[in-house]
């Protein structure tokens, strides 16, 4: 057997090294996807259920996705195993050059991180277009720009697309890219699962974007039955698309959890783990265990719509409450999946830009894990006015109130770190501070919603909508943008323009707050969610909101210009350590070598060891190997 060489060509293969070779790439993936869709539709409609042709669409999407995955190369490894041929668990995709690496199956976690980043930004763009169309419709209380059924298609499109983005936009790009560096390993535990979690996303986005072609779906992201069963074929896009996203969450979570548990380098104890890794870890716990419930519930919806079972139809032995409970048992941990990595980012960046250790590190970890644990016990607060047994309400009110305690720990830790620090107001730091302000408002409004009597007025109104936009957009999206400004030089080797960055921050912060703050008032003033017509007295309020929403979108366009220009049209390579902070990824050169560490490092200090007179290095790269 030949030994490793990195020279051109390789040794001739011996009989024991013969391998399965299926020529697979993006093109074969797309072709097989189309073929799979067609076959699925034929089979589905041929089954002969009385189902308004839903089975065809469901099977078409499923087969299409499966054959896409086969066509892009995921079947190679299982088939090789099935035929008993030897496999070295190494990275595929390295044979591509240039941009083609990012358009094909790669098992390199850095490539996957960049693929995720681009996919998430594109999905956010589509969701943002939906938002602009919604706000345009709401300019007038009774005239509509689009017909009312199309309005709900827009609302549903915007909401589900943004949910997709929020669930994966931190763990996907930054978790996949940086967690191996931060724990000192060259590999992810399951690179194929990691790649799978990414490659489920483009089919999901395309399936969701295809929904309007089938008439869209009218339920918003919550998919409540029985309205879902009234809906046309567009709802099948929701079922399959959301199942794919849930699968991606579960698969990515299994990979991330196993990586952090099993592959930490020597010296990287649990108490030295960067808080960003803790944020990703706790979100992955929720993602891995909550997503399967969503998958089950969506399969039930699929069965109801194809085989005419009746999981959710009261007159036939089912119950809409079944869907509500299953959906929100997933749905509440889902929103903590959104925010826990964002907490991780903010608590990671503030010590670096304040040049002080993270104050209360262990408390912060306890806070993250406390949120993770409590988030399983609060879901019925979405059902306070649904008709649940009254005896349940006090318990869920208490648990929901209690979850604000570990959430508040984030502020405690941030304040302790900022106290007497040496703060540099860089663009990432600005966005972190913006996060703190926005999430404060979002979190406080959550307390209003958590008390049942006040929830009576606020549930299902624009107040609740403002609450989750402040927490998700003002919170998570601000954290994502902070992370992009921070890590862009290391991920892409290019520097973003910081003057444009500062303009972006102030523009976005002001526009966001002025757009969403009045929506609290709209909710208190009797405007329900998801409406296309509203009381005429609220027109000036809505017009004000729409105006600032357009400006918010424009600020994101400015950001997009900055990103695209810096990445593709500016040839200057960024310095290896532009922020001069103590974190292992900045000790490595730019551009990053293919192999993370030539020798696995030994970690010798915590990640935020500022203020030391003679600081120890973050990690000791280890002795040189003895000469052969």
């Amino acid at each position: 057997m030949a030994t490793a060489t990195m020279g051109s060509g390789g040794p001739a293969l011996q009989a024991s090294e013969r391998q399965m070779v299926l020529p697979t790439n993006l093109l074969t993936g797309i072709v097989l996807a189309a073929a799979g869709y067609y076959v699925g539709v034929q089979i589905g409609n041929g089954l002969g259920f009385n189902d308004q042709l839903n089975t065809g669409v469901l099977l078409g999407y499923t087969f299409g996705t499966l054959l896409f995955l086969v066509g892009i190369g995921f079947a190679n490894y299982p088939l090789a195993r099935l035929f008993g041929w030897p496999i070295a668990p190494q990275s595929a995709g390295d044979e591509y050059r240039g941009a083609w690496r990012f358009l094909n199956l790669s098992l390199d976690h850095k490539v996957i991180g960049i693929q995720y980043l681009v996919a998430m930004l594109m999905a956010m763009f589509f969701g943002g277009i939906g938002a602009m169309l919604i706000r345009t419709n709401l300019l007038s209380p009774d005239q509509l720009v689009v017909p009312p059924d199309k309005y709900l298609v827009l609302v549903s499109m915007h909401s589900v697309m943004m949910i997709f983005v929020a669930s994966a936009a931190i763990v996907g790009p930054f978790g996949n890219f940086f967690v191996p560096y931060m724990i000192g390993t060259n590999r992810m535990a399951f690179p194929r699962l990691e790649a799978l979690s990414f490659w489920l996303v483009p089919p999901a986005i395309i399936i969701l974007l295809a929904a309007p072609l089938f008439g869209g779906f009218p339920t918003g992201w919550t998919g409540y039955a029985p309205l879902s069963e009234q809906a046309g074929q567009g709802f099948d896009s929701y079922i399959v698309g959301f199942t794919l996203i849930g699968t991606a969450l579960c698969v990515s979570g299994i990979n991330m959890l196993t990586t952090v548990i099993s592959l930490r380098a020597p010296g990287m104890t649990w108490t030295r783990l960067p808080i960003f890794v803790w944020g990703v870890f706790s979100a992955s716990i929720l993602g891995t265990f909550a997503a399967p419930i969503l998958a089950s519930a969506l399969i039930m919806q699929g069965l109801d719509r194809s085989m005419n079972t009746s999981f959710f139809i009261s007159s036939n032995g089912g119950s809409p409450y079944l869907w509500e409970n299953l959906f929100w048992f997933f749905g509440h941990p889902e929103v903590y999946i959104f925010i826990l990595p964002a907490f991780g980012i903010v608590m990671e960046l503030i010590p670096h830009f304040a040049r002080k250790p993270l104050w209360g590190y262990k408390t912060a970890v306890v806070g993250l894990l406390g949120v993770t644990l409590l988030s399983w016990f609060v879901w019925q607060h979405h059902l306070f006015v649904s008709g649940i047994a009254p005896a349940l309400r006090p318990f869920y009110m208490l648990s929901t109130e209690m979850i604000s305690i570990p959430t508040g720990i984030v502020f405690l830790v941030a304040f302790g770190t900022l106290w007497r620090a040496k703060i540099s107001m860089t663009v990432p730091m600005l966005f972190c501070l913006g996060f703190l302000f926005n999430f404060l408002i979002g979190g406080l409004s959550g307390v209003f919603l958590s008390d049942v009597p006040s929830d009576v007025t606020l549930h299902g109104s624009y107040f609740s909508m403002a609450h989750f936009h402040f927490t998700i957009v003002g919170g998570e999206i601000f954290a994502i943008i902070a992370a992009i400004y921070y890590w862009f030089p290391k991920m892409t080797g290019r520097a973003l323009n910081m003057t444009l960055g500062k303009i972006h921050f102030w523009w976005m912060m002001i526009a966001f707050n002025l757009a969403f703050m009045p929506l609290f008032a709209a909710g208190i003033l009797d405007m329900p969610r998801r409406v296309s017509t509203y009381a005429p007295s609220l027109q000036s309020l809505n017009d004000w909101v729409s105006f600032w929403a357009y400006l918010l979108f424009a600020s994101m366009l400015l950001f997009a210009v900055n990103v695209i220009w810096s990445w593709f049209f500016n040839a200057k390579v960024a310095p290896a350590d532009p922020w001069h902070v103590r974190s292992i990824e900045w000790t490595l050169p730019t551009p990053l070598p293919r192999r993370n560490f030539e020798r696995i490092p030994t970690f010798t200090s915590g990640p935020y060891d500022y203020g030391q007179p003679s600081p120890r290095p973050v990690a000791d790269p280890g002795p040189e190997p003895a000469p052969a």
């Binding site: 262990k362 302000f437 008390d451 006040s454 299902g460 109104s461």
Partner: protein, 282 residues
């Protein structure tokens, strides 16, 4: 200039106290929805006001701290000095967690006590329908409660008065100073009955009899909206003609309604309506 911790803390504390007091005073002046048309509205407005008053110092404190830190603890331009090596202070952390826990538990306690003060515009499901009363006092605070069934469908509400032979109306009229029990159900998809000024919101679920209460205190009109996405005209499913009227006016109105309904073959009153109801045991 390096100031001692005490200076920074004192400045912050004074600014926080002053701004919080101002904020709380402003908050106390607000007249908050849902208003005072029912006992539930009064309770809910009170709770909202309490929460605004409690949130104000928190909001002021956090914003003040951020702004102050950004100005007082700034890195000198071009420098790269480290801050002090401070990893935490157990007493401060415990104090913070304890204080937030106490505030949150007090809020939860108040909310629970309001829930237990029977009837708060919230609800529970009941599997038994109210007995169909033929006559008797219109629900006064001393007497029998007025039973009103709210039937939601795409895209309007219908109201049936169980105490008056199940007569139907598209407009919700209620007597003042009365205990009213709503029985809310749907005939197709999920809706939600939201009587804004009354402080009542409860979901309408097909095959379910959602019960919620209100005690009316003032005459006046109120708006009814649907608060759960129910399809295309969800936003249009609103009705501004709801009204709380005097007992005499209500009696007149309901008598007229019963006369009008005589010629209409109404379906029998039931707690919920299925297209093809089955019988237990078959």
């Amino acid at each position: 200039m390096i100031r001692p911790n005490r200076t920074h803390a004192l400045r912050l504390l004074i600014a926080w106290a002053v701004l919080s007091v101002i904020g709380v005073v402003i908050g106390l002046q607000l007249s908050l929805p849902p208003g005072s048309q029912s006992q539930q509205s009064i309770d809910q407005s009170g709770l909202l006001k309490l929460m605004i008053i409690l949130s104000t110092p928190v909001f002021v404190g956090v914003v003040l701290f951020i702004l102050y830190s950004v100005f007082a603890f700034r890195q000198k331009r071009g420098a790269l000095e480290d801050g002090p090596r401070s990893y935490g202070n157990l007493r401060l952390q415990v104090a913070w967690v304890a204080i937030t826990a106490v505030v949150v538990l007090i809020l939860a306690g108040i909310g629970i006590s309001q829930l237990n003060a029977a009837a708060n515009g919230t609800n529970f499901t009941s599997s038994s329908a109210p007995a169909l009363a033929t006559s008797g006092d219109v629900g006064t605070t001393e007497g029998h409660a007025l039973q009103v069934q709210v039937i939601a469908q795409q895209w309007y509400f219908t109201y049936r008065y169980a105490d008056y032979s199940g007569v139907e109306s598209l407009h919700l009229m209620l007597p003042v100073n009365a205990n009213v029990v709503f029985h809310i159900t749907s005939t197709d998809v999920l809706h939600s009955f939201w009587a804004y000024q009354l402080g009542v919101k409860a979901d309408a679920n097909p095959g379910v009899d959602n019960v919620t209460y209100v005690t009316t205190l003032q005459t006046g009109s109120f708006t009814v909206r649907c608060a759960e996405l129910c399809g295309i005209w969800h936003g249009a499913m609103s009705d501004t003609s709801g009204a709380v009227v005097s007992q005499a006016d209500f009696a007149t109105w309901i008598t007229q309604l019963q006369k009008d309904n005589l010629s209409i073959p109404l379906p029998p009153y039931a707690p919920y309506y299925f297209p093809s109801p089955r019988v237990k045991g078959t």
